[in-house]
Symmetry: C2
Subunit: 313 residues, 2 copies
């Protein structure tokens, strides 16, 4: 089934110990859409400026992504500048030029109205809620957020959380949202805010899924937490978009499956890690554009091999 | 087969958000020995003072641990004071009274000479090397260290590393020892110093094993890294000794097996995590004294369940 993602399409200027790129295509919706496109049809709602050229749109369309929801506005595309040092676990933001994104009013094309799987990437929770309310046929909603919305837009964010089947955030965001240092207590508090499940990303250590009391996924009882590994990588060239690529692999796989079960959810967590591991191998979206489904499935097996008790030998 | 551990037996005074204890039995050798005792016979070489009473020795003997190598010296037992806050991932040392430990000269009882599995807990690498050199029948050596020895006793430590089958350290120690921020590159550099394998502990995120080029464990080629989970715990009462308990479960299981294979190594990583997860449930060694083999194996299955693709249900 098709996924609709609403979020940012941007240009990123990034410096890491491996080099530097200027104005490469990025944004949460871009990384998410590319990663998910290996599993299912993807539709995008975003806004770009006059500097968004046919070559940029081709990055989406070459992967079969539906770009009818990418609105062109007068002005420049959202531009993010950041750098990474040390363990590359955290970006230092050097500049955020919102440009056309500042006045982003998501418009849902008629052709997108039948979408059943919605991903609310990291944008103003007011816009997340608005998109959700205009999608009557949606049967699963997955969302992301960040410290800025958690800290200063809490009430609006909490309205969105009640609508979510899956909230995907990182450790720091889970602690900030819950006010709890312990990860299990933090998860319990976040789940009490409404999402049926919570996937907490740990960067190079993988991710953990926690489930609330509402029967999900496809299980009569509350499933236990599930821990998915990340791949130990010697060369993390550019971590930008790793979390969005995780979300794309995770949700793309979920949407591609005929039914939701605990086993499907687990495989989705692995595919999330797989897509995140590809994303960081090159700057920007380079690797997400060139990877093949065969490589994805080979790496899925590698994830299994490095985390399961029975070695492949 | 019996394991011999050489390391500290101590009294710990600990404060965590869950409470406070004064002079409870602790030390690396103590946690290690108790955790390993659920899998195999354990022998201890350590030194204690006049304040080490029969009730303290009984903690060892009740678990069948051979205490003939625990030397009594005039003076007080090593005393560590520390506290934990926040995520409880790191201890703040408030006091280190070495006492009798300052003049520790390990003496190997005649009855220990046939030991085949040696664990060098975190002590001066000069002493680690000396014990190793006096154990001619040893066929496997596993060791630990800490930032103090890495920083100021590098040359001595490097001599020990060349003798190790397994080096068990945490992320920060791996980075410090290698001078590399990236965990895979750090592991490569540490393995180049000599140990056949390296187990890096990630606290609440589990542990990763890396293998060098020398055929180990029981494999013709270099095995891939292996990632073992940790259990998400709502109540970490006292993290003291978690790493030593991991080592005890890991090495105790290895020593109990008839041969070393990649599959045995993986199970050992899981048992390490299991014993670490019990250790932190209570202050000091309380939980390690009372846990049962049934509880251990039930938790082992839980570790499998939270990390493997096929859910139990």
């Amino acid at each position: 089934m098709a996924i609709l993602v609403v979020g940012s399409v941007a240009f990123d200027s990034i410096e890491t110990p491996h080099g530097k790129v200027d104005h490469c295509l990025g944004g949460a919706a871009t990384h998410f859409a590319l990663a998910a496109s290996y599993f299912t049809d993807v539709r995008v709602i975003a806004v770009v400026g006059e500097d968004f050229l046919p070559e940029h749109e081709a990055v989406f369309t070459r992967r079969g992504i539906d770009t009818r929801g990418i609105e062109r506005a007068a002005g420049k595309t959202f531009h993010w500048t950041g750098s990474y040092a040390g363990t590359l676990n955290e970006a230092q933001t050097l500049g955020t030029d919102l440009n056309v994104f500042e006045r982003f009013e998501p418009k849902i094309p008629e052709a997108y109205q039948d979408t059943e799987f919605l991903f609310l990437a990291n944008i103003d929770p007011v816009l997340q809620a608005r998109v959700r309310s205009h999608m009557p046929k949606v049967r699963m909603v997955c969302g992301d957020t960040m410290n800025y919305w958690i800290k200063d837009h809490t009430a609006n964010l909490k309205k969105v959380l009640r609508e979510l089947d899956v909230l995907l955030i990182n450790d720091g965001e889970a602690r900030m949202l819950s006010g709890e240092q312990n990860s299990v207590r933090a998860a319990e508090k976040v789940l009490a805010m409404g999402p049926k499940s919570l996937v907490v990303k740990h960067g190079e250590y993988g991710a953990t899924a926690f489930f609330g009391n509402r029967a999900f996924p496809g299980s009569a009882t509350t499933p236990r937490p599930f821990r998915a590994p990340a791949l130990p990588l010697a060369d993390v060239v550019d971590p930008t978009g790793a979390g969005d690529s995780f979300a794309g692999g995770f949700y793309g796989y979920l949407a591609s499956q005929p039914e939701m079960t605990p086993a499907v959810f687990r495989k989705a967590m692995f595919y999330g890690g797989v897509m995140g591991s590809f994303a960081v191998e090159r700057f920007g979206t380079e690797r997400l554009q060139s990877v093949t489904r065969d490589e994805i499935d080979t790496r899925f097996e590698l994830f299994r091999e490095i985390s399961h008790l029975d070695p492949a030998v």
